[in-house]
Symmetry: C2
Amino acid sequence: MPREYQFDFEIRHLIYFREVARLLHFRRAAESLGVAQPSLSRQIAHLESAVGTALLVRSQRRVELTPAGRHLLENIEPWLRQLKRLPAELDAIAQGETGILRVGFTGLAMATVLPGILRELQRTHPGIRVELNESPTATQLEALRSGDIACGFLHPDSLPKGYHHRMLLSERNGVVLPADHPLARRKTLKLHDLAKVPFVLFPRYNNPTFYDRTLSAFSEAGVTPHIVEEIWPRANAIGLVRSGLGATLMCPSEAKILPDEVTFRRITGPTPESRLALAWHGGAHGSGALNAFLQAAGHRLN
Amino acid sequence: MPREYQFDFEIRHLIYFREVARLLHFRRAAESLGVAQPSLSRQIAHLESAVGTALLVRSQRRVELTPAGRHLLENIEPWLRQLKRLPAELDAIAQGETGILRVGFTGLAMATVLPGILRELQRTHPGIRVELNESPTATQLEALRSGDIACGFLHPDSLPKGYHHRMLLSERNGVVLPADHPLARRKTLKLHDLAKVPFVLFPRYNNPTFYDRTLSAFSEAGVTPHIVEEIWPRANAIGLVRSGLGATLMCPSEAKILPDEVTFRRITGPTPESRLALAWHGGAHGSGALNAFLQAAGHRLN
DNA sequence: TCGAATTGATACTCACGAGGCATCAATAAA
DNA sequence: TTTATTGATGCCTCGTGAGTATCAATTCGA
């Protein structure tokens, strides 16, 4: 038993001391603790020598606390209570009945599945607190890797191996135009029609895979997009469209709620496809809170 | 080792776990703790089975915390720190460098030695908090007996055996008169001169010994005092004198500061003698705070 | 692709010390 | 005085923490 990192007393000593201090009687305390009185006497003596201070005054016929003893009693009482609850507490965390869960998400998730999942989770596991973090797919992947988030709603196309994921939705992008734009009068558009329209997209590093896929769709349609701005989060793009800066691509779910000044139009033919998946670390030991979240997400989807 | 009152883990386990959780490495943690790695492995396993929850995920090559493990780490950290300080803390209390000290006192003490002692104590032991309680000698004796106060400034004549005490002062009483009283023109008085003067004294039960001694002084002087009021604390007697109700006996120190409307006159011949002593419980195990207080009181007197 | 190094777990033995029983010394109550 | 009750001490037993040697699984380097 090494000396340097060793406390010279143990929880047992504190519990023994508490009982003696409460009853001020060795024999009764020993009985209450279920040990023999001599053993108790020695353990208390051990504790006193370990802390280097007399905690009790024994006068053969009466036992009383010293000031240090009283101080110790008052100090350990709350801790012993907390310690007693500890196993149940840890179990609750492991079972996912409580805990903090950091979750990454994109605007699309918030516009579609996320609210329902959170509501379901709140219903089944009210003890779990979710810390939401809107960030682009690339950032979420990094956060997943480092453990900063336990799971993320992201575009799964560039998901590396070692992560589990569940596809949530896949939608062909449409276009958001200023309401007074000439093309807005048409019911549907082709990407080809938008050759001359200035575009607001998102920064490439947010999600290189999807960015490149978007440009591919344009070239497939035989045009090169005129990109005037890159912005994130995507919702901000709507503001720019509204200000007349240009148009932006967006999937129907995300464009469900739009201000009057802008219009959403479906695109026929080639168009990028927004995908949303819930991804999490492939470790075998999913945190309980994460499992609860996944369960809530599954429930939402069935 | 009885089951009912036994935690299934000890402080040692928590310290071991903390080190492993910090370093996320059994071998290095074992080295840092000064134990062999196998022992550490088993202690951690023991802790996990004791709390009934996995705290670490071992993947042969890497160790990481489960959510429960992280929770445990965060919870025990502050407590282990506190626990480490505990011996020094208890020692400080035992040595009287800190703690709470309840002290009884009378008006005479506050008018004389008490302020100086408190100042000295504050200088030498700033960690000690003193709880002052003005009460008559008889009440203080009871409080000493029950442990409500650790020491008291009181009239020592009726001090029972089993208490230590240190005499602080002894003063012949004088008389406090209304300033416009005919007798106030004399420089000194005899108790005999005050035969017809109505007197304000204190309730007998406050200090029966001194009360009786006072009456003895009167009869020695050949008079019976005309007592019109008994009041406590003594300082209030001055207010009654001021209102013209009568005169009161008082020692010079206590009568040092008087309003203009009253006058203090020394008494020659028989007169009661106010004594002040610091008394404390004769137990062998004086609390450290008490010892510090006594030391400050001694310093004040030398 | 294969061997070397590194990881934490397991098997075995040893020794410290907590626990139990019997008993003592000191005090209080009869 | 006797008797009962208090906490402390002596001695023995046995559980368990710790050490050494070793294993199985994985990673890394060539």
